[in-house]
Symmetry: C2
Subunit: 366 residues, 2 copies
DNA sequence: AGACCGCGTCGAAGCGCTTCGACTCCGCGA
DNA sequence: TCGCGGAGTCGAAGCGCTTCGACGCGGTCT
């Protein structure tokens, strides 16, 4: 810090400050409920009731209290609620993120919506980061700076069991392998798969393919399974020919899958891609192979919550997705309901919206 | 919510929850200092002293207390500190940001560093957004969910006077017109201007120009003034010919300035640009005019904190800047010191670092 | 007329923790 | 031997607020 340039009247170190802990002057010597009571000529408890409405208070008294509150500029001390049992009115947003992480953009989108939604319920948001370890969550739960937690993504790590044992309401944004006892919100990737197929069918495509992360056909990611189910169901229902192709996120694999698809008979004219990492690779592979998109081939993507992988999808890809804003708001919603003691479902899957972009078009006349 | 798909054992709405306010079970019934005291066979106050070390406690007792703490998994209830005068150990990060804001990326960078730095001082971070109005800040100050505030950018609005009157320590990241009574951290844009000139001089350039936001020569932004001072000082010290050119952030204006520069005799071979918005425009203008960068002309940029304007500078521009991480950490540092009652300077300007990129090179041999 | 009820209000307790004053040892010097 | 002081501990108060039980008062019911 000694290397910082110092500017202004205090550059020489002269004290202009009052030196009190806290630094600056304190024009509001923290007006308490007792002050309000005194000013209104009633008991503190009466003030409390008048403000909360938990007991009948005469209109006259209520008016006097309100006046006193206004005149004194009284604001209940938030911290008080923290131990009076009412809760601190603070939610923790846990986002495992390191400096320079490419997911920062996405996390910010969630943070924005979570903060906005939380404010709508009169809560503030505590930002917890880099705390993948048990310790970060424990700290929040035991130390109780927050009443409840929203945890972003990363379903693979050890958090789910930990969350269950925290003893504090929480909502997970994402889909862990075993959501038992948790509350989760996520993209309804099954519906997203269906939506993509329906979209392709409407465009006239009769043969479609699903390309996804490796274990797309086996018991892979929860998402992969759901997408597969949705894809298959929709294809069956609409009477389309369909095939499924697992595809690791490597250029070589994408190339191989692309070649395979082109060799199929009947050749698919519409492709649904799951796993964002693969989308770009697959499109590149197709273009290398001389396919024009969307003229020869339509491509639609299913985008999961978008936290785990780099969120930079080519803008022009038609995709079924849920905006981070909605997921964040939904998470807060559920969390507030849990705080109120309302029962909430284990998993809430938000319906995707299909965003129609440049990568899909009518079936090529063959 | 009725439109959400619900999945899992509770899809039918069956209660498996215990319905207690708070939702999930609570395996840790909030072990308090009294529990620890009882378990260790001492008085609560003794536990407090044993843990804080504020009074002499026998080694024996201290050991028993520590054991009890460990066995019971005791963690002091954070909220308690909030009113016991110790502070809640929470900093508020105030970032005026709306959904979809392009500055999200930048804000996230600050948030990351602020959270990390705050954790280093055993503090948590409360995220406040969209609260440009007086109300957001007032709420934090009066309700006291946070001990102190870090306010990001936007020096133009009405916040500075408000901050002064809040009665809570705060640090502003950015440079308001009048920093009196505040504490601010920012890029040392004067030094940044010098650095750019020195860099150009080292490369052999003998004639340099400064292009910046409109009032670069008059009493404009604090930054603009500082850059100008630094630029002029360095140019004078190094014996370079120099000129200064205000330039609004419009393509036409950039074009005009570029043409003017090329007509000058001696013609500048090195250009220092302040105001990120102008950088791209000016480079475009030069290229349109047939100038190659850096072969014909070297361009170096001064980047302010980067909060107010879109931060997406072309990656290839040599620039003098301060990483958000450092600014965030510095802000936390100052804030913690204020909380400790230490006196801190009014303005701390962080030394820029010159990042050498593709837009500058040796003076063209003429 | 007396018993009862309930509205509106008050006082006090208590949440988890820190802190201040007080109290008890014990060892030391006078 | 007594007194003194320091080390080590305890008890109680108090932070700002909610909440529970109680109380007074005016009106109703019998």
């Amino acid at each position: 810090m000694d290397r910082w340039t110092v500017e202004g009247r205090n550059a020489d170190g002269t004290q202009t400050d009052d030196g009190r802990p806290g630094g600056s002057r304190r024009p509001h010597p923290m007006v308490s409920i007792t002050d309000v009571a005194r000013h209104a000529g009633v008991a503190p408890s009466t003030v409390s009731y008048a403000l909360s409405g938990k007991r009948p208070i005469s209109e006259e008294t209520r008016r006097r209290v309100r006046a006193a509150v206004r005149e004194l500029g009284y604001r209940p001390h938030t911290g008080a609620g923290a131990w009076t049992g009412r809760g601190a009115k603070v939610l923790a947003l846990v986002a495992p993120l390191r400096a320079g992480d490419a997911r920062a953009q996405t996390v910010m989108a969630y943070a924005l919506s979570v903060v906005a939604a939380a404010r709508g319920h009169d809560h503030d948001v505590l930002l917890i980061m880099r705390e993948e370890s048990e310790d970060g969550l424990r700290r929040v739960a035991d130390g109780a700076p927050a009443d409840a937690l929203i945890v972003l993504g990363a379903p693979r790590n050890a958090r789910p069991p930990l969350l269950r044992s925290l003893g504090r309401p929480s909502v997970l944004i994402g889909s862990p392998a075993d959501p038992t006892g948790l509350t989760c919100v996520d993209l309804d990737s099954g519906a997203a798969g269906e939506l993509c197929v329906e979209h392709l069918a409407e465009l006239g495509h009769r043969t479609v393919a699903l390309v996804g992360a490796p274990p797309v056909s086996l018991g892979g990611t929860v998402h992969a399974q759901r997408v597969l189910r949705g894809f298959a169901a929709a294809a069956g229902r609409l009477g389309l020919s369909s095939s499924v192709h697992p595809c690791p996120a490597s250029p070589a694999a994408a190339r191989a899958v692309a070649e395979g698809l082109l060799r199929e008979r009947p050749a698919p004219t519409g492709v649904v891609v799951h796993d964002e990492g693969v989308v770009r690779l697959l499109i590149d592979a197709f273009e290398t192979l001389g396919q024009r998109i969307p003229d020869d081939l339509s491509v639609a993507a299913v985008r999961p919550a978008g936290l785990l992988t780099d969120a930079r999808l080519p803008l022009s890809v038609t995709s079924a997705e849920v905006p981070a804003a909605q997921l964040g708001a939904a998470a807060v919603d559920l969390l507030i309901r849990k705080l109120n003691g309302t029962h909430v479902p284990e998993t809430a899957l938000l319906p995707p919206r299909l965003t129609h972009r440049a990568s899909t078009s009518d079936r090529p006349r063959s």
